[in-house]
Symmetry: C2
Subunit: 209 residues, 2 copies
Amino acid sequence: MESSSAASGGSTRREATRQKLYEAAVTLIAEQGFSATTVDEIAERAGVAKGTVYYNFASKSVLFEELLRHGVGLLTASLREAAERTEREGGGKVDALDAMIRAGLVFIDRYPAFTQLYVAELWRTNRTWQSTLMVVRQQAVAVVEDVLRDGVAAGEFSEEIDISLTASALVGMVLVAALDWKSFQAERSLDDVHAALSRLLQGRVSGCR
Amino acid sequence: MESSSAASGGSTRREATRQKLYEAAVTLIAEQGFSATTVDEIAERAGVAKGTVYYNFASKSVLFEELLRHGVGLLTASLREAAERTEREGGGKVDALDAMIRAGLVFIDRYPAFTQLYVAELWRTNRTWQSTLMVVRQQAVAVVEDVLRDGVAAGEFSEEIDISLTASALVGMVLVAALDWKSFQAERSLDDVHAALSRLLQGRVSGCR
DNA sequence: GAATTTGAACTGACTGGTCAGTGCAAAAAC
DNA sequence: GTTTTTGCACTGACCAGTCAGTTCAAATTC
């Protein structure tokens, strides 16, 4: 038996190679795009023979799809964990949103290349991994939507808000602010960025004194 | 004399062909990405021979760069116009921001493919058109930053806000909300989307009753 | 105003290079 | 001794960019 299942992690040799390939691929594809990145480059960067890539993944696009699933899995888990933690600590839904913003920032701080590559692919159509992407996107957005829904039910948010649109807007706010941060002002601290976004979330920017 | 100059527009045959090529390229590249899109495809979609592409543009990437400049030029003009209009009408800076959000939505509504392609490239590095992109990005963001700065000076916004980060966040909010709108809920009206974003901007979602 | 010339615009077959994916024998790891 | 990795040569499709030749509308000549 291949000892495949193994809920989390997996410490076979194979798993280690796959991880190296993910890391190599994510950087290269973030920088250059999928089509401009060659399998030879990925193998070289991972310090592995080309044949090994094909021993571990059926094709270049399968490698990419599994990379996507892998990455968004991490993000979703992290967001959900943040929401549940504030729940346990008795915080309100605003606190939950705020914690998720921070979780998002922490994620992007740790995996900027993945985020970049994800954004670049998200709204494309006609690509083979389109369906994978949709599934995975839905999982992540759903976490935010759930918090908004609960917040409305608890009377903490206005009943007039549009759940899915507001969720998109919040995600966009964090995504773009964080990518700009990492790309153009990398020296700033996470707390700094988080504070600015919190302020915006709570409408302390304009009016509403 | 070949009647070349003609300040705006230009109605030569050449100009018409370039326009057709822009339109063909923007859709294809938005769908598939730059590298996955072939010059043959662009030519075919534009109803033109491949040689014509090279007669009009030095290379595939030059075509793309000019396309970027062209598109962001339209956006910047539109944003600036919106800000100035509210100025003339004696609106405050919040109104200016709101008008710019709407202008952004109108732009994305009209040129979704361009927006998509722009987002996909914006945070990449190591590409030949990287510098073009930076310039053009700065022009667009600057318009938003100017309004924020004026707003702080006029005491309309808190002095604590971080201009560039807030600008990024606002852009992200509109960008992502609009792209999700066009991709996944295309039937909704612009007014609808605009209302949801206005609400978020004015902090009428959480607290701040 | 018909015949001729000009040149910008366009065409599409062709070339040289690149790259995903294969095949396989031998080595290394476990 | 089985699984995994290596190294490398090879193939066949695909594609950016080229170039000799064609088109045609406007300008020029007679």
